[in-house]
């Protein structure tokens, strides 16, 4: 997505490289999570993402795109005078959204001024579109960024920035009716789901219902007490590996920021393997395999497809074609 860093309010102007370094150090110490915008008189904008005080990525924002700067080049790129710096605290949900809008490719773009009525109509159209997209909406001091995962996923994520404060929410297509009745300037960017940024995003979406259904089924077979202990085992395993993911009977509380698809596959795959090992002790390997297949069949195709492609295929739980054979799942 083009440069949206202007929504990050400037707090320090015309500062030296040393001062920028000091500000970065301060963010380390206060375990800051959010964005740091560094802009230069030349018009160049850089955006750092921080999670718990650790710099994750540095984006170099251009008018119509952004690129990731490799960590080796950070010092070289920042070593300039006259920087203006702004900070915007954000949680992990917001940071994930920021990652998507910076890294997902844009295949089509439209700019428009829309009335309130036109905006609400457009929301429905964008939500129905199969391609994922994001939209930047401005009006007065309203700065809103929406991320549409693409039909049939009904998820719409919102990042609203007002007076230097960001708020992340999950919305549905009816949401714009609650916006003020005024005119809006919008920038709508249609992306292409066929890349790792969106895959990682969708895998996360799919993983939660998968785990919830697996735990529910395990609880039916083995009882709630064992299911809760199993959740504890999975959470212990994830936290032991340094991942901020916990499992409970409602699914997964995923506070982990994955910066690549492979990293997320590794962790999700590990959790499922652990589930298979631990649940197998109680109900046996055969039943575990069956509940995996059964669960996959019950998930919506868009979710089961991505799980089959990136996780299930990894350890031979069966191909999609195999899963489709109802008689195999019959006990």
């Amino acid at each position: 997505m083009p440069d949206f860093s202007s929504i990050i309010p400037e707090t320090h102007q015309n500062v030296s490289f040393g001062y920028v370094e000091m500000l970065i150090q301060d963010r380390h110490q206060e375990l800051f999570s959010g964005l740091m915008r560094i802009s230069y008189p030349s018009g160049e904008n850089l955006v750092f993402t921080f999670l718990d005080g650790v710099q994750q990525k540095l984006y170099r924002c251009f008018e119509v795109s952004a690129e990731i700067v490799s960590p080796q080049s950070w010092s070289q790129l920042l070593n300039r005078p006259g920087a203006s710096v702004g900070l915007l605290p954000l949680g992990v949900d917001g940071l994930r959204l920021v990652r998507v809008i910076h890294e997902a490719p844009v295949i089509r773009e439209e700019q428009a001024n829309l009335s309130y009525k036109e905006l609400t109509d457009s929301f429905g159209i964008w939500a129905e579109n199969q391609d994922p997209s994001f939209v930047y909406i401005r009006s007065g001091n309203i700065n809103l960024i929406y991320l549409f995962v693409g039909n049939p996923n009904p998820i719409i994520e919102e990042l609203s920035v007002t007076d230097g404060q960001a708020r992340f929410s999950i919305r549905d297509a009816a949401f714009p009716q609650t916006l003020p009745n005024t005119d809006y300037k919008i920038s709508h960017y249609v992306s292409n789901a066929d890349n790792d940024v969106w895959r990682e995003y969708k895998l996360r979406l799919a993983f939660n219902p998968l785990i919830r259904m697996l735990i529910t089924r395990f609880s039916e077979l083995a009882g709630r007490a064992l299911a809760e202990r199993l959740c504890g085992q999975l959470t212990d395993w994830a936290s032991g590996g340094g991942w901020n993911i916990s499992v409970n009977s409602n699914g997964v509380v995923n506070r982990q920021y994955f910066d690549s698809l492979d990293a997320s596959i590794h962790v999700y795959d590990g959790i499922l393997r652990r589930f298979r090992d631990e649940a197998g002790l109680a109900i046996g390997a055969r039943l575990v395999e069956n509940i995996f297949r059964e669960t996959l069949m019950k998930l919506p195709p868009n979710l089961s497809n991505i799980l089959t492609q990136y996780i299930y295929g990894q350890y031979g739980l069966g191909s999609a074609a195999l899963i489709a054979q109802k008689e195999i799942t019959q006990l």
Binding site: L226, G232, Q233, L281, L287, Q330
Partner: protein
Amino acid sequence: MRFGCDARKASNRLMRLAVFAAVVLIAAYSIIYFREPFSSFTNGLLANGLTVMAALSSAVSAIMIWSRYEKTDQPRRVWGYFAFGLSLWVIGEVTWGYLNLTLPDGEVPVGVPDIFWLSAYYFLGQALLLQYQILVRPTRRELISRVISSTLFLCASFALIFTALKPLSVSSRVIDTLVNAFYPAGDLTLALAAIWLTRNFQGGALGRPWIGLLVFAFADLMYAWLQLSGAYAWSLEQGSLLSGFSDIVYFSAYLILGIGSFSQWLFLKYGLRSPSEAR
């Protein structure tokens, strides 16, 4: 099993204790059976008492599993029925033992104990049906179809055994033959259900009671068949090992069922615990 350290130790210790107790009981039963170290009445009392104890161990283990589940847990209903069925078997063993000791010839006719033994099959069947429902989540039609096919199998095997027995049981009443024919048919149905469950829970701790049930069903089937075929009575008269072996297997099968259930209880209590969890 990957239990927490303390939990694993406690679980292993209790399991070893249970197996040791079972071995001691089998040894005691065998000595009483073959050596007859005491008076006839005392030997009978001890043998019957041990059989009741073995049956009680399986029923108590099932009740322990039942109590381990929470009220909303679906397996709790399975174990409620299963424990009730096994409790009826315990009552059957108690009444049979009492009659065996108090009747002049010690021969217990078909009667009160059979009421308990036979009615237990209904509750065990309910338990297995519920377990099937939890495992397969069948549609109503599938469920009805499964119930009908199981009932048909039970009726067909019952009719077959009754037909085979009737000419051999000239002296006994028809009701005796009917009751005696039901046991192998019921055991066969239980055994098939247990095989199916064991196969599904392959390798899982929650499948162990079903292995116990499988062993019990086959032991009881063998016992019933020896009784019906007259081989048991012949063996007693001839002093052959066959009747003794059959009685010991029947006795041991209760203990195996009890150990299988106890093992599940241990898993429910200690299983899947993190090393950090201590209780």
